[in-house]
């Protein structure tokens, strides 16, 4: 009997890194065609398309992609949800398929960010000739750098430091060791932007961006795209045995926003909405954190990875430092986290990230992850967070047979 389940039929990510000769449409097309081929289907089989490219959020990337690979007249949803844009595109297709609007759909995320530096804040304008109040706070002059920081490395540094203040045990070295783990993991990922191991000394001695985050502890701006084909359970049952065997079950698909917390107006709260999303996802999937064989979480900075161990309930409340110190999150540990190398090494082409992490987990569940395969993986979780804030959590399971 068919049910409400939805499945990933095909999924693909491009190499992350520098693609000077490809534009966003080329990259999106490569990912989309890759996902369709992987699923053994074509664009004419798709009933819905959701696409995101955050830096070109008003450019209609979905329709541009259609012109590149097939204008079939299906509904297109161009989505933008900060760093959760890819997860939002995926979830949009999942919702359409679950709602019965179609039995197959395509989700695509793409970004070109190579060479981008600090994306927030821009340049500080020089002060005006006269002090005149502007904007929501009546500021007479630019406030970035005068009233705290608007840079993401600085914002996420404070998020990690706040955890340290609350529970203790954090240090510059601890955060650097999280980065050391992810850079080590990246050596097994041929699609990562950077796949070189880095020693603790190298990481701590590198250029300081926002204490305690040095440059290799920050996610890497790069180009890349990822795409996935979603299929309904009923449709999947009509497909070939090989397609069914490789299909990955979407056991949970959750998107949350940040509920009010006292300090959220001055420092974004990335914790509550992640914990809420995780709770809901575990409930939907009928699994617990103890069942996860691997986790891809949003390590936009080394300081962020620590807090998400706790938010995703991989450890007891307040226990993230001990959890990391136990070695659990290394690829040979009990709860491998970011075996892809994470955003710090694999890279973070914003809108692609929320599908690429699903690709990573799906790859392991299919037993196709090659040298970095987590043996026997049957359940995995992919998490992204976009400041503002939006959190996407997907739990995936290996096909039963």
């Amino acid at each position: 009997m068919a049910n409400d389940d939805v499945w990933i039929l095909g999924i693909h990510m491009t190499k992350f890194g520098k693609h000077p000769d490809l534009d966003v449409v080329d990259l999106a097309a490569e990912a989309a065609m890759g996902a369709l081929n992987d699923g053994g289907v074509g664009i004419k089989d798709m009933g819905v398309l959701a696409a995101g490219c955050l830096m070109m959020a008003s450019a209609g990337i979905g329709q541009q992609l259609q012109k590149q690979i097939g204008q079939t007249g299906i509904p297109v949803y161009n989505v933008a949800n900060a760093c959760a844009t890819g997860a939002t595109a995926l979830r949009t297709v999942i919702m359409a398929v679950r709602a019965g609007e179609c039995d197959m759909g395509l989700a695509v995320g793409v970004e070109k960010l190579s060479g981008a530096g600090l994306l927030s804040g821009g340049s500080r304008k020089s002060d005006d000739d006269t002090w005149t109040r502007h904007g929501r706070y009546g500021a007479v002059a630019p406030v970035d750098g005068r009233i705290g920081t608007e840079t993401m490395p600085g914002v996420f540094a404070q998020i990690g430091m706040e955890y340290g203040h609350k529970y203790g045990g954090t240090s510059f070295e601890l955060f650097a060791r999280i980065s050391e783990k992810n850079h080590s993991h990246s050596t097994l990922n041929p699609l990562a932007s950077y796949s070189k191991a880095m020693s603790l000394e190298q990481i701590m001695g590198d250029m300081m961006i926002a204490y305690p985050n040095t440059r290799p502890m920050c996610s890497a701006n790069c180009d890349g795209a990822a795409a996935a084909v979603i299929v309904s359970d009923a449709k999947l049952r009509t497909l070939d045995p090989d397609q069914r065997r490789r299909a990955v079950k979407v056991s949970a698909s959750v998107l949350t926003s940040d509920p009010w917390e006292e300090s959220c107006q001055v420092l974004p709260d990335v914790n509550t909405l992640t914990r809420n999303a995780a709770k809901l996802a575990y409930e939907q999937a009928g699994v617990g954190p103890e069942d996860l064989d691997l986790v891809e979480l949003h390590d936009c900075f080394a300081t962020a990875e620590l807090v998400h161990y706790d938010n995703l309930m991989l450890c007891p409340v307040g226990g993230a430092v001990d959890f990391f110190e136990s070695g659990a999150t290394w690829r040979d540990g009990s709860k491998p986290v970011n075996v892809s190398g994470g955003l710090e090494s694999k890279g973070h082409p914003i809108a692609a990230t929320g599908i690429a992490n699903v690709w990573e987990v799906a790859h392991h569940l299919r037993g196709e992850a090659g040298d970095r395969q987590i043996e026997g993986a049957t359940v995995g979780l992919a998490h992204v967070i976009g400041l503002g804030s939006a959190c996407g959590v997907h739990i995936l399971e290996k096909a039963a047979s």
Binding site: D23, M55, M56, S58, Q64, A82, C83, G115, G117, L118, L119, S120, G121, G122, R124, S126, D129, W131, R133, R136, Y137, G138, V140, A141, V143, D144, G145, R146, I147, G148, T149, E150, T151, M152, P153, G154, A157, Q158, I159, M161, H165, F172, M208, I209, A210, Y211, P212, C218, A220, C222, D258, W260, E262, S263, Q265, L267, P268, I350, L387, G388
Partner: protein, 199 residues
């Protein structure tokens, strides 16, 4: 090249720096902009005066030749920050809201924020947008239950001189005078200990 017109238009929004070496992760949305929803001109505070305020009421520019960096800083003998507090649940906002983000009620009152606080989180920013002097210490300061974003000032910007849980107090400083001779006054938090030692 036959680029879609919208592609070119969109690409102008890319805030790309030339420095290929810097592969810093950041986002295109200013960190200050997330929770602060544009509402336009809205009347506030039924029966509690205006939480929004007019330009005359904004800020505490007690001296005609001084102006505060932001309108939630008030000067006078005892400089302090002010917030719009939800009359129902006590949630505080440094900007205007149509309804409380916590409880949805619509009455606000202007309240004084404690000047003494404790550093709950900090970072030392060594790389910032062009034009922003570095290094500086950005912090989240807990002022008797109200979280305040500010720089730590009158302290060395290094991890040896700044610590989590450090007791700090509000302090003001001059940003200089404009062409009319008006002096802008900013705020930050300084260590209580160092201040006491200096006495």
């Amino acid at each position: 090249m036959g680029h879609h017109p919208a592609l070119g238009q969109g690409s102008r929004t890319l805030l790309i720096e030339e420095d290929e070496e810097l592969r810093l992760r950041a986002r295109p949305i200013r960190a200050t902009s997330f929770t602060w929803i544009t509402t336009g001109n809205v009347k506030y505070g039924h029966g509690h005066g205006s939480a929004n305020g007019t330009s005359d009421e904004r800020g505490g520019d007690q001296l005609s030749d001084q102006i505060t960096l932001v309108d939630y800083l008030e000067l006078g003998d005892d400089p302090h920050l002010v917030a719009n507090e939800c009359c129902a649940c006590g949630a505080k906002f440094f900007d205007r809201r149509n309804a409380c983000a916590s409880c949805g009620k619509t009455e606000f009152q202007r309240v004084r924020v404690a000047g003494d606080g404790e550093v709950r989180a900090f970072t030392i920013v060594s790389y910032a947008a062009p034009g922003v002097p570095v290094p500086f210490v950005a912090a989240l300061v807990d002022c008797d239950g109200t979280s305040v974003r500010a720089n730590l000032i009158n302290v060395e910007a290094d991890p040896e001189h700044v610590s989590l849980g450090m007791k700090v107090r509000l302090a003001t400083y001059s940003l200089g005078e404009d062409s009319n001779g008006t002096e802008a006054i900013g705020f930050g938090f300084e260590p209580q200990e160092a201040h006491d030692n200096g006495k």
